[in-house]
Amino acid sequence: MMVGGQSYQTAGRGRPWTFYALAALFGFFLLFLYGPMLVIYILSFQGPRGGVTFPMVGTSLVWFEDILKPGQMANIPVSFGRSITLAAIVSLLTVAISVAAGLAFRRRFPGSGVLFYLAVASLVMPSLLVGFGIGLGFKALGLKTDLFTSALGAQLTWTLPFGLFAMFAVVNRFNRAYEEAANDLGATAWQRLRHVTLPILLPGIIGVAMGAFTLSYDEYARTTLVIGERNTLPLEIYALISSATSPTLFAIGTVTTGVSFLMIGMTLWRILRLQRRRAGVVPS
């Protein structure tokens, strides 16, 4: 990831005053980031007669149980399953497409400029407009919008640019000599890809997969117009917000965060282990 680390040396062994000022700012920023989330976590344990703000009227797990009951307004467990499935598919597709494209961009080929700026445009385009365009297209073709067609496509326009730029960074660090050595030793193009290129790029690829999964799982703006009838979790929550506010919402928030944590934590741990093993720290 980041290499940095050059620090300001002062005359003594102490730190300049700016260190403390910036550290304080950083601490404040963390509080600012986590504060509201903590409120949600706490409020999700709200007592059965409590409301959506403080004070806490006792504590309970009532609102967590509420999640599992399919209410008339929302069906959380089902939409959660859909979100996970969609995220898994988007993640796999993003990895396959970005890795191939990342390898392609090592050379300048005709059209590489256009494609690059197209990817940038796809990234900065206001999300709703992307959904709008896709929705119009589906309507024009007489197709019904659906989770695994239009919504999937809309999410790909968001995850692929991220994946592509991440792969640029990964591929740039990749020494071409490895591939030449593989050629020298008799590998065919497929053998080279399978035994040399992909294994060496693996930590980066896992990072892209994890990033794409998260982006998809949390995504709502691109998919809201083209989701069809089967909502993902963020959109289900969106529907809930407009209709009713109860601490159930907060319980959902807590659970979703927990799931994200789990997924990303596991992936990070895997990457770390891979990198440490390859750096020779841990005997293989």
């Binding site: 680390g5 690059f116 445009a121 206001p126």
Partner: protein, 307 residues
């Protein structure tokens, strides 16, 4: 052990074994590798954009939409004072949020890269900043409601500390709330690219500047800021476009006091009034494109990202 005179070129040569490169020319290989990406971007992004650009010229009434080529949608859009008001309001939000996230983002990136000495601590702290991103924007937005409300946590703390006697009203359902939420959501978009740029600065440059007698402040102005230009530009592009393209935060947090360009658009789409929505979309896209093109003049994005 001799070097042959060039006359040897005239000697009959042994016939070559094997045919001249049965391999594909490299640019074809690249095209094959990049075709899935091209397919997705063209079919799911470029064509739909073209589609709504076309529809923006169509006619419509209460019953349906009709293919045509009229400029009425644009005229209506651009001459309504409401449009201008909404654009100015969005732009104002964008600028304020940009300034705050730039200040926060730059200082945090600077802290992480230049003041934190151990790589492990740096990774940990950066992770800490990134973790909230793993929760959906929807939840992070509504999380502010119990926090900023009249009976919310912030007011309780502030009153508990005795700083005020009445709960602060302006905190929620106001422009303040909108800005606070935006900053919460988007600061990481600044921290990331800027930290990336800063990490690439060769430490020898800073030492050379110090050798030449520059104070820390001068080093910041003369060395660090210019060399972080790319990160700043990238972060700015991301923050601006996210704010201008938002429809959810404004709706939830402004209590109806402000509208956003996209939420107005969304309403028209709900009402199936596609042509004016499309015109609105085209204008927004044009606006965003101008902004982004402007920022890309400062920095050659392609060179930085692909290099």
């Amino acid at each position: 052990m001799t070097v042959l005179p060039l006359a040897v070129a005239a000697l009959p040569r042994l016939r070559r074994i094997g045919t001249a490169s049965r391999r594909l020319p490299p640019w074809i290989v690249s095209w094959l590798q990049v075709s899935p990406l091209a397919f997705v971007l063209i079919v799911l992004f470029a064509l739909p954009t073209l589609l709504f650009a076309v529809v923006s010229f169509w006619d419509y009434d209460r019953t349906g939409i009709y293919p045509a080529f009229i400029l009425d949608n644009y005229r209506d859009l651009l001459t309504t004072p409401a449009t201008i008001r909404v654009y100015l309001s969005s732009l104002a939000f964008a600028v304020i949020v940009w300034a705050i996230t730039l200040f926060l983002g730059f200082n945090i990136a600077h802290f992480l890269i230049f003041h934190v000495r151990s790589a492990a601590a740096r990774t940990l702290l950066f992770l800490l900043c990134a973790i909230p991103f793993w929760t959906s924007g929807i939840i992070r937005t509504i999380a502010w409601i119990p926090f900023l409300g009249r009976n919310g946590a912030f007011n309780q703390i502030v009153m508990g500390l005795g700083l005020t006697t009445k709960p602060l009203d302006f905190l929620l359902f106001s422009s303040f709330a909108v800005i606070v939420t935006y900053v919460n959501l988007f600061t990481l978009l600044m921290v990331g690219p800027i930290a990336n740029s800063m990490a690439k600065i060769d430490p020898a440059l800073i030492e050379a500047a110090r050798d030449a007698g520059a104070s820390r402040w001068q080093i910041m102005i003369e060395v660090i800021i210019p060399l972080s230009k790319t990160g700043i530009a990238l972060g700015s592009i991301l923050v601006f476009t996210q704010v201008m393209g938002d429809f959810f935060v404004v709706k939830q947090m402004s209590g109806g006091q402000s509208a956003s360009i996209v939420s107005t658009l969304a309403t028209e789409i709900q009402a199936m009034q596609y042509p004016p929505a499309a015109a609105s979309a085209v204008v927004l896209v044009g606006f965003v494109a101008l902004l982004v093109a402007g920022m890309m003049r400062i920095v050659d994005v392609r060179k930085e990202l692909v290099k």
